[in-house]
């Protein structure tokens, strides 16, 4: 773990947020959304990105009032010690679960398509070992990795575009708002359960950003670029396979990549695409566990560097166990992720910033009254 003050550049901050936005939603999210609203899933995606951007502005606004502090630290000023500890624990659990979700999706990708005979636990342990090594190196290394992952994400989407050209059918996207505006808006909550975590990640990472003045711009850019990536992927996926086939699949992204080819010569390139996609998943998992650990450390008040190092192992083991119990049973994971997860994710993603904003405004108002 790095010594001294950890900082990340605004570009790295953008890259991290891109990696936290697109890779998981194209994996499981497209199937969830297609089952909910069919060919309008991309519109729900856009709605979700716009909602998230609104909350990104909110959380950066709150964060700027408490420079150098994470959400766990400044919540003490806003909510008091007890509620701040509670919030810290909720965030620890939330980030840990979300990291397990992210890792589960990657493990499913590998064990269900490419390494079908390798035991689930082996792939899980190996992947989490790599993530923990990244965590051991600290957020700066994760951020540097984020830049590589971002570049590979651009290549990923460029290849998807090239490979899909011969198969696209625009009619598969029509009519817009087929199931009705209300249903499409409701479905955007499903996308929110993937994308909405960005504002909480920003609330944890904001103190690390070297240039605080440009933090909002780079955060908004990260969410927008990541959003553009997955919305583009949704659109192309729909235009090639149609909403019925996307809805049929558990992991539609892989079936989509198996359905496209670049000319007659570059086909069956799913392993290559998984390799490009992997880096973003790695960065996302690394950042989520980092946030979980940071929230825990700040809640319980751990200050010793050695304890932090032990915590990397502890979190690694907890996430291995969690991933195994959540994701080994694919039916359980599918039902939990499609129908249950949003009841935890949405209150945290959107309720928490609103709650903190309300307390901040309330405190401001009380302060103004007292001084008047």
């Amino acid at each position: 773990m790095n010594q001294g003050k950890e900082t990340i550049s605004t570009n790295q901050f953008t890259a991290i947020l891109v990696c936290c936005t697109w890779p998981t939603i194209i994996n499981y999210g497209s199937g969830f959304l297609a089952r909910a609203v069919g060919h309008d899933m991309w519109i729900s995606g856009i709605m979700s990105v716009l909602t998230t951007l609104l909350f990104v502005i909110t959380i950066v606004y709150i964060g700027r009032k408490y420079p150098g502090k994470t959400i766990v630290e400044y919540s003490k000023d806003l909510l008091g010690t007890f509620l701040s500890k509670l919030l810290g624990l909720v965030l620890t659990v939330y980030f840990t679960l979300r990291a397990a979700n992210c890792i589960s999706m990657y493990i499913h990708h590998l064990t269900d398509f490419l390494l079908t005979e390798t035991p689930f636990l082996v792939v899980t342990v190996l992947h989490i070992a790599v993530v923990c090594y990244l965590l051991w190196k600290g957020p700066e290394v994760i951020a540097r990795m984020g830049i590589i992952a971002f570049s590979l994400a651009i290549l990923f989407h460029f290849l998807v575009f090239l490979a899909s050209l011969s198969e696209i059918n625009f009619n598969r996207l029509l009519p817009f708002f087929g199931p009705g505006i209300i249903n499409v808006t409701k479905a955007s909550f499903i996308a929110d359960s993937f994308v909405g975590i960005n504002q909480i990640i920003i609330a944890m990472l904001l103190p690390l950003v070297a240039n605080q003045k440009k933090a909002l711009r780079s955060a908004a850019a990260g969410v927008s670029i990541g959003g553009a990536f997955f919305v583009f992927y949704f659109i192309v996926e729909l235009m090639v396979m149609g909403p019925q086939v996307v809805a049929l699949m558990r992991i539609a992204s892989m079936d989509f990549v198996r359905s496209i080819q670049i000319t007659q010569y570059l086909h069956r390139f799913e392993s290559f695409m998984v390799a490009l996609w992997y880096w973003s998943m790695l960065v996302q998992a690394g950042i989520l566990i980092y946030c979980a650990q940071k929230a825990f450390v700040q809640t319980v008040g751990v200050k010793k560097e050695k304890t932090n190092k032990i915590l990397v192992f502890a979190f690694g083991i907890v996430i291995i166990i969690l991933t195994y119990f959540l994701a080994y049973d694919r039916v359980f994971f599918l039902n939990y992720r499609e129908f249950k997860w949003q009841y935890l994710a949405l209150p945290v993603n959107y309720g928490l910033p609103v709650l903190l904003l309300l307390f901040m405004l309330l405190k401001k108002a009380i302060h103004a009254i007292r001084h008047s």
Partner: protein
């Protein structure tokens, strides 16, 4: 701490050998195509497996070459389900059956008229299979199609794949990939159309031919489309470009062959008294590639007459397809999607009675044909009449 990392890394290295998923190429049986037939107790699956030893040594044109041994092996097995039948192949195949390179799925008519879910569930769940695999139906035993050694290609699967890819040249057959088949199958209102494969003879050789199409109704095969109906289907679905159409010359009745350079069809819908009406507008640009008639088509008036005949022929093709679709109660022309796109609100009420409404729907067809190209000749290939001068 560094020592711990080193030990951990060395320990983890043991897991990196990938033994669990090691699939050596010489231990795999590459399935190139699969044929499915119905049996009394379930399914008969016939897999065409590449013989890796002889495949690379076999020159292209298996049937015509001097090599006696076929570069593929046909293995059949039966089971209550497709997967059981496939697993039963392990009893006769020393190599693991590997599905990644499968090109065509052929099913018999008898099977296609049964429960389609039983057939396609296996193929959509299989992580090795690609969704770009072609789907075809044959009237007789499907397994027999795979036993025909092609004249020009190494193996039947490659031959069938290439024939399907070139259906636009004849305009008398069609092809559908598994992903598109599943899309139509999953849709409650539309239905898929698959290639129809038949066996025919060329001299003393049996060859595989693509002829017409198989139409599916509500979850099972409904019937066949003949060549004209298939051509109409290709017109409506914008897949006709590159095909040929032979028509009779309006002036002397002799044949004129036209190549459809460009064909574009639009479908519009209206609703009158709750009954949908569709207007199909086809526009085409064709080229005279051969003619036996003596008419000089440099004269715009004459050419216009030919364009009228072409338009009429296309209209008849499309009409026959629409009639077939309504007779089969199968919306393989995607009219429901057209209606849904154009009348989103009304569709919510109409969709409940779509099968009844579809057969009642009135379909108007407008065709606009142009023949701007007459190939390389400036005039007809008619001997010049004697004029006394040389």
């Amino acid at each position: 701490m560094r020592k711990i990392f080193l030990i951990l890394t060395l320990f983890l290295l043991f897991f990196q050998a990938g033994c669990w998923n090691a699939r050596e190429i010489n231990e795999l049986a590459f399935v190139l195509s699969v044929a499915l037939d119905k049996t009394d107790n379930g399914f008969k699956v016939t897999a065409q497996i590449a013989k890796t030893e002889t495949y690379s040594k076999t020159p292209t044109g298996g049937a015509s070459s001097a090599v006696k041994e076929k570069p593929f092996w046909l293995v059949s097995s039966t089971g209550k389900s497709i997967f059981e039948a496939v697993r039963n192949m392990a009893a006769v195949s020393s190599r693991r059956i590997f599905w990644s390179h499968i090109k065509v799925i052929i099913m018999s008519e008898e099977l296609a008229k049964g429960n389609l879910q039983e057939i396609f569930d296996f193929f959509s769940r299989n992580p090795e299979l690609r969704f770009r695999t072609w789907v075809a139906v044959t009237q007789g035993e499907a397994g027999k199609i795979l036993d025909v050694v092609p004249i020009m290609e190494k193996d039947p699967s490659l031959n069938i794949e290439k024939i399907i890819e070139k259906t636009n040249l004849t305009g008398k057959a069609c092809g559908i990939m598994l992903k598109d088949f599943l899309e139509k199958y999953m849709d409650h209102y539309t239905n898929p159309v698959a290639s129809r494969i038949v066996l025919t003879t060329q001299g003393d050789k049996t060859v595989v031919k693509l002829d017409g199409a198989a139409v599916f109704g509500s979850k099972k095969m409904a019937g066949w489309l003949n060549e004209n109906e298939t051509r109409g289907y290709l017109w409506v679905t914008n897949k006709i470009s590159g095909s040929v159409r032979v028509i009779n010359c309006p002036y002397d009745g002799l044949p004129v062959t036209l190549e459809i350079k460009k064909g574009k069809t639009n479908i519009k819908s209206t609703i009158t008294n709750g009954i949908p009406q569709f207007t199909i507008t086809a526009e085409t640009s064709a080229k005279i590639t051969e003619k036996a008639c003596l008419t000089e088509f440099r004269d715009p008036q004459s050419l216009h007459g030919l364009e009228e005949v072409l338009a009429s022929a296309i209209r008849k093709d499309i009409e026959s397809t629409v009639t077939a679709a309504q007779n089969f109660d199968s919306d393989f022309l995607d009219f429901s999607s057209v209606l849904h796109r154009a009348h989103k609100t009304e569709w919510n009420t109409l969709s409940a009675n779509w099968p009844q409404l579809f057969s009642k729907s009135e379909v108007k067809i407008h065709v606009k044909a142009r023949i701007p190209e007459v190939s390389l000749l400036a005039k007809s290939l008619v001997p010049i009449e004697a004029s006394g001068e040389k």
